[in-house]
Amino acid sequence: MMSSSINRRRLVQASSSVLMLGTLNSITGRSWAASNELRVSVGGGEWGKANIEAYVKPFQAETGIKVNPITDDSTIAQLELMVTTKNVTLDVINLGAPSVAIAGPRGQLEQIDYSIYKKDELDGILDFAKEPFAVGSLMYANVMVYNTEKFPAGKPRPTTWAEFWDVKRFPGVRVLPTGQRGVEGPWEEALMADGVPLNAVYPMDIDRIFKSLDKIKPHTRKWWGVGSEIQQIMHDKTADLVNAFDGRASQLINQGAPLEINRNQAKLRWDYWAIPKGSPNAANAQKFIEFATRADRQAVFAQLMNYGPTNRNAFKLIPEKVARKLASHPDYMAISLPWNAKWYSEIGAGGLTNGEQLRQRWNEWVLL
């Protein structure tokens, strides 16, 4: 490797000086600032493709507004940097509910203009999806998933979190989501396991959460962090009973994996469309979000990618077979617990938000 280095080095240098010159041109190549195309973050993979098919393309066709779908991940850190430095390079951003709960009050999102929505569409959209700074884009859930080889149809199966916690009746390896982000974690499930009824989970008793988690910890193999991780764990049959995203489990079930979803006591969660404060095309961004939350559009999306609509009217247009796979199906909604953004951002003891308290407490507890 070393002997021929000079030749190679020279070659690399010669070719790269051309490259370097090329890159100088790109300094002036910041096209988005000038043009009025709408830059929308749509996420990657199949999800991004479904967003483009269901929303981006029809929106361009209807309004004539050019949309540039950005398939990178968008995070709260990027939002904060863009907004505080007044260098906003996205017009529509895709954020999880916890991020909206933080960014909204910090003044980093534009107010949503609900006056441009048709009345029946607006009525169809679930209440918690109509925030002042964001509109719900899709719904999913943390559900219980069990291995059907370990828990076959004829024998008793766990159907509540209390039964998930009951390692004597249902022996087997458990896997639960990590709580290191504070705002998301197995908190609600821990309380339900301890006997708290669905409608009395909030406001949550933090001490009681960790007392309940103490009981399940010795039987847990892994705290998972991202969706692809739990998908791999279910695929590899590392655990017999898991708390996973419903979409990840459905994908594997569609492929023939020996898994089944229990939707009882599921935790409903959702993502939002939002507009970063100072977006150069805020007016068109409002139009895009209004378009993307219409019932007919969400019905198309749900059939491409099995995530639930936030607009209830969409279910009139979705075949029952598909609708049964969606977290926001009316039957499932009745037995699910919606995640409560308000509680997490409330300031509790010690001047910290409840979410922050959970994060610190988790970091300590997990090392014990």
Binding site: S3, V12, I27, R30, A77, T89, G182, G355, L367
Partner: protein, 592 residues
């Protein structure tokens, strides 16, 4: 040209380009971040106190140090003999071994982590093998344990340990060891008292790079670790993702830098100062231990030395080999390490031909569809081309600037050298997310957010650190009298550098360039922040993909990346590795 010559006469001036890039892209914003962390202008340590008051943080801090020390030690134990054996091999074998060591480094971190899950998992390769042979009745818990963390981390860090060692060992004059043997030193003593001290600069560079990197690890421990295996960077990343409090994040980042600084001072910051430090260390360790036993063995040694010297002369003229046992053991060791290094890559390549929708091993059906999905999708090929362009530009820029800086640092007085080295190392010590935030502010002032130039500069601040560390190690063993000799023959400083210094430190420069390229090619956290959603590199594209679904396209991409160094090897083989007449004006061209 004249300014350059002036710079050449004032060695410390050579560090100016490197420090300028650092200062503009990273330095000023990081000072601002530091001020934020101490609540300027009020100036209080409340953020640091808040950090240390949480017992969890302190415990994770210790755990981070512990994991990093152990991982570094394993790298040392495997890496040093490996580097020694690579150096001792014939030129062709050495070449092949070096390329093979580098291959796993080119497989994206994410993909490699998945490969380990496939290998170590409960229904993974190892467990399946043991179950089918009947050695065990239920799967071993290999994955989700501290051991899995070490396996994954050492696998990633081993090349970083081996390359600086090889670049230094290749510069060691083997006749020195032979001379020691001829004076009657037993093989081990000749190694311990001659070879080892001379290789210390490489050892220190390797230890430093590995340890500093381990401190900042988070993807691997999070994916392979058990319930308790949290690292400080995991905590920081989670904090950024959940609430993004700049002051607190900055405070934890500076605590991490503090640990790295302590580590640097323990190892000896002076990457260039070898002679004194090296022998001191060797002598100290020689003296420690059981004194009486040592004295006895030494006396026995002295007695036997004339006999050994005689035998050495006899041996010298013997045809062929030394003891066959050692050769066999050495070969076995090399093969085992290579198996460890390359097996995950092999798994990735096989998985890339899977016909299923998931990464699985062994694949249930075979197909080339993930390759066609790569080549048929302009967003993949475009991202790959973008990454190559950026990687080459980063390698060139940081190799030139970094080599100059290492040369300058080598010629300046120790205290200033230590200080500047710490500054240059800061970008690889900080967690990526913090460097990314700092670089974002730096580039914003220059109007470079969302440009290739911006990304090149961001990658370069880390790449320069690599180059400086590795080139410094090579320079440490450099005999300065060779330069004086050239100058006495009326060679100018530039000519001396080009004709004498550069050829001698070439292994280090090449190693540095390679690391610079790979550093750029696998970077995702910083890039995602400064890309402004406008420039898409291959890692960004892979990351976007892996977060949403694990489709085998990433395995196909990883396999294609593995192919790159193999092609290079082939090209070198075909061209016959002939040293060509050296090109004139290599350096001036590059600088001007």
């Amino acid at each position: 040209m004249q300014t350059l010559q002036k710079l050449g006469r004032m060695p410390i001036g050579l560090t100016v380009p490197a420090l300028t890039i650092l200062l503009v892209v990273f330095g000023l914003p990081i000072v601002l971040l530091f001020l934020t962390s101490v609540n300027a202008p009020a100036l209080s340590l409340s953020n640091y106190q808040a950090f240390l008051r949480q017992p969890a943080n302190v415990r994770v801090l210790f755990q981070t140090i512990q994991v990093s020390v152990v991982a570094t030690a394993i790298c040392l134990i495997i890496g040093y003999p490996m580097a020694y054996l690579i150096t001792a091999a014939s030129k062709r074998v050495r070449m092949v071994l070096l390329v093979l060591v580098i291959i796993p480094y080119l497989t994206s971190l994410l993909v490699r982590t998945y490969a380990w899950i496939v290998i170590l998992g409960d229904s993974g390769l190892i467990n399946n093998l043991l179950l089918s042979t009947g050695l065990i009745s239920s799967p071993l818990s290999l994955i989700y344990s501290r051991m899995a963390v070490y396996i994954g981390m050492v696998h990633i860090m081993l090349p970083v340990m081996i390359l600086p060692l090889v670049s230094v060992m290749m510069g060691i004059d083997k006749s020195l060891v032979a001379a020691a043997r001829s004076m009657g030193a037993p093989p081990f003593a000749a190694f311990w008292r001659v070879f080892l001290p001379l290789s210390l600069p490489g050892l220190r560079s390797g230890l430093l790079l590995v340890f500093v990197f381990c401190l900042g690890f988070y993807i691997t421990p999070a994916a392979l670790g058990g319930l308790r295996d949290a690292m400080l960077s995991t905590l920081i990343a989670a904090q950024v993702a959940s609430s993004f409090n700049m002051a607190q994040t900055a405070a934890s980042a500076f605590i991490l830098l503090g640990i790295a600084a302590v580590m640097l001072s323990v190892l000896g910051l002076d990457l260039a100062d070898t002679k004194t430090h090296g022998t001191r260390l060797a002598r100290k360790s020689w003296r420690s231990g059981l004194p009486s036993f040592r004295a006895l063995t030494r006396d026995l040694n002295e007695l036997a030395s004339p006999y050994r010297a005689k035998r050495w002369t006899a041996k010298l003229y013997q045809a062929g080999g030394s003891s066959g046992l050692w050769t066999t053991l050495g070969t076995l060791f090399v093969l085992l390490v290579m198996l460890y290094l390359l097996f995950p890559s092999v798994v990735v390549i096989i998985m890339s031909f899977s016909g299923g929708e998931f990464l699985e091993f062994p694949p249930s059906t075979l197909s080339l569809k993930w390759y066609s999905s790569f080549f048929g999708d302009p967003s993949w090929t475009g991202a790959a081309w973008m990454s190559i362009q950026i990687g080459v530009a980063v390698a060139v820029l940081s190799t030139i600037v970094g080599t100059l800086a290492a040369y300058g640092l080598n010629r300046t007085f120790p205290r200033l050298r230590s200080f500047l080295t710490l500054i240059i190392l800061a970008p690889i010590t900080f967690p990526s997310i913090v460097v990314g935030i700092a670089a974002y502010f730096g580039l914003l002032n220059l109007g470079l957010i969302g440009t290739k130039t911006g990304i090149i500069l961001t990658h370069s601040i880390g790449a320069i650190a690599y180059v400086v560390v590795i080139v410094s190690a090579t320079l440490a063993n450099f005999d300065r009298r060779l330069e004086q000799a050239a100058k006495s023959m009326r060679a100018g400083p530039l000519q001396t550098f080009r004709r004498v210094t550069l050829p001698l430190i070439r292994p280090g420069v090449m190693g540095g360039a390679l690391f610079a390229f790979i550093h750029s090619f696998d970077e995702v956290v910083k890039t995602s922040l400064v890309s402004g959603f406008s420039v898409r590199t291959l890692p960004l594209k892979m990351w976007e993909n892996i977060r949403n679904q694990i489709d085998p396209t990433i395995a196909a991409v990883a396999s294609l990346l593995i192919l790159l160094p193999l092609l290079w090897l082939l090209v070198l083989y075909v061209t016959g590795w002939r040293p060509r007449p050296r090109a004139q004006n290599v350096l001036p061209d590059a600088v001007s």
